[in-house]
């Protein structure tokens, strides 16, 4: 198979194992490309991509933009803070106006759940979801799995614990779908208030004790506490959170094995991870994740562009 089964990348829920394998295989080639002296290929010379960011982002936007530029696509950037959205324009109007300028692919981040899905039904362009509210963030999950595969050889059969604010995390949901598709075992760990009530229905187990969770796992994917999405207090204090669920050097050293530490960024240093853990060269693969993000996004855009 050399074509994706979907026209848009809206979420991991909509794709299958063969799609993931194809994306990884293509990303392997692009990872080689971005490590060359000249890191650019001319494949998408005749494609124009609009990056619509209705929510703040540094890493994802830069990563998408670099991926697009390294494929030689033309790129236009749009962020909600400096646009007509402020003047009351609807999402469909905004998108259609951009599309009349002959744009082929839209990469969108939006604070509302399902915004990309909605847009894909109403406009004539291919949509890549770069994060929709607390729903999905498919390229992040793909690059996380790709990084695990790179570090441990494969994802199948590995034990992965997702630690922290699972309730507000689109990274967690996309990761659960992606890891389950690839045959990994998944556990979530965090304060009871931040673990969704029916999370077990996705085939994951729950653990409230961080030490037990780390003893069980091969990889810990640590999430950021998303204060900006919390309208009420989910835990008494940041200090208490970091004491109960933060990962520090002593905790890692007390385990009888070396686990892999991942984080989608941005890190709240001293809250979910201490600096010596985040910067540990033999356990943390956080910066590899960022590098792989460009290769994965190149692969996704390249494969979707074949269908333009």
């Amino acid at each position: 198979m050399s074509q994706l089964s979907v026209k848009h990348l809206l979420g991991i829920k909509h794709i299958n194992k063969a799609d993931i394998d194809l994306i990884f295989k293509t990303a392997d080639h692009f990872k080689e490309v971005i490590n060359r002296p000249i890191k650019k290929v001319p494949s998408l010379r005749d494609i124009t991509i609009a990056n619509l960011f209705f929510e703040n982002s540094t890493r994802t936007r830069l990563s998408f933009e670099l991926a697009e530029k390294r494929l030689s696509a033309d790129v236009v950037n749009f962020s909600a803070s400096q646009s007509s959205v402020k003047k009351g324009e609807t999402l469909i109007d905004t998108a259609n106006n951009i599309l009349s300028m002959k744009v082929d692919i839209i990469v969108m981040r939006h604070p509302d759940v399902g915004a990309c899905d909605f847009l894909s039904q109403h406009v004539n362009a291919q949509i890549v979801n770069a994060g929709d509210g607390t729903h999905e963030h498919p390229t992040q999950a793909l690059l996380d799995s790709f990084s695990i595969r790179e570090k441990l050889g494969s994802v199948e059969g590995k034990k992965i614990v997702i630690v922290g604010d699972v309730l507000h995390s689109r990274v967690a949901l996309s990761n659960i779908y992606a890891l389950k598709l690839q045959g990994a075992e998944v556990k979530v760990c965090g304060p009871k208030t931040l673990i969704p009530k029916y999370i077990e229905s996705l085939g994951v187990s729950v653990e409230y004790n961080i030490k037990k969770a780390l003893e069980w796992c091969d990889v810990a994917n640590v999430l950021r506490v998303q204060n900006e999405r919390m309208e009420i207090n989910y835990f008494p204090s940041t200090r208490e959170y970091s004491q109960l669920f933060g990962i520090n050097k002593q905790l890692l050293d007390s385990l009888d094995k070396k686990i892999v530490i991942m984080h989608p960024g941005p890190i709240n240093r001293g809250v979910e991870l201490t600096s010596d853990v985040a910067d540990s060269p033999n356990q943390s693969i956080i910066l590899n994740q960022v590098e792989n993000g460009v290769a994965i996004r190149m692969a996704v855009i390249y494969l979707l562009a074949q269908q333009v």
Binding site: S2, E32, P37, P42, S43, L44, D46, A305, Q306
Partner: protein, 179 residues
């Protein structure tokens, strides 16, 4: 579907040795030369030539790289079937080196056009030559000609020239396939 043999395994053996000798004539000890096999089918020919140069003519350390041109092709989104990439493996810089592209069949010249662009990602070669096993004359879309060619054939555009290698297909042979 008709299938006609164009070159037998014995003929290919002789041609490979001739091509190796022609390369030696121009590149002597290959000190400043890099052979680049074009993926996917040119790599077998490139590996075969390197083994002849090393084993039969005792030239050590011939630099061999494999170049994939998928992302540089000019028919992306214009063909029916999607393109699948292959591995690029060039672990040296081609800056100021003499590069020899190696491919099995030269037809339209578009793969070589893509390879000329692709190789620039690895530096600026001092010169680039082209070696092919089969040169399909009169079918070029671009002004590209080989510097070394194993055999020249004139076949109709609908006909396909198919090169088989022992390591991949069980037997060395070149066929003309008539659809």
């Amino acid at each position: 579907m008709g299938k006609k043999i164009l070159l037998s395994s014995k003929e290919i053996h002789i041609i490979l040795h001739r091509l190796a000798c022609q390369l030696i004539e121009n590149h002597t000890n290959f000190e400043n030369t890099a052979l680049i096999g074009i993926q996917p089918r040119g790599t077998y020919l490139a590996e075969r030539l390197v083994s002849i140069l090393e084993n039969d003519y005792h030239i050590p350390n011939v630099k061999l790289g494999l170049l994939d041109i998928t992302f540089y092709r000019d028919d992306f989104r214009r063909r029916e079937t999607p393109l699948q990439a292959n591995k690029t493996n060039i672990n040296f810089i081609v800056e100021n080196k003499k590069v020899v592209f190696i491919d099995d069949v030269l037809f339209s010249g578009r793969s070589i056009r893509a390879a000329l662009t692709a190789i620039q990602s690895f530096g600026r070669p001092s010169e680039i030559e082209l070696l092919v096993l089969i040169d399909r004359r009169f079918s070029r879309h671009l002004p590209i000609q080989p510097d070394y060619s194993g055999s020249q054939v004139d076949v109709f555009n609908e006909e396909k020239v198919s090169v088989h290698w022992e390591e991949k297909d069980g037997k060395d042979a070149v066929y003309i396939i008539n659809n």
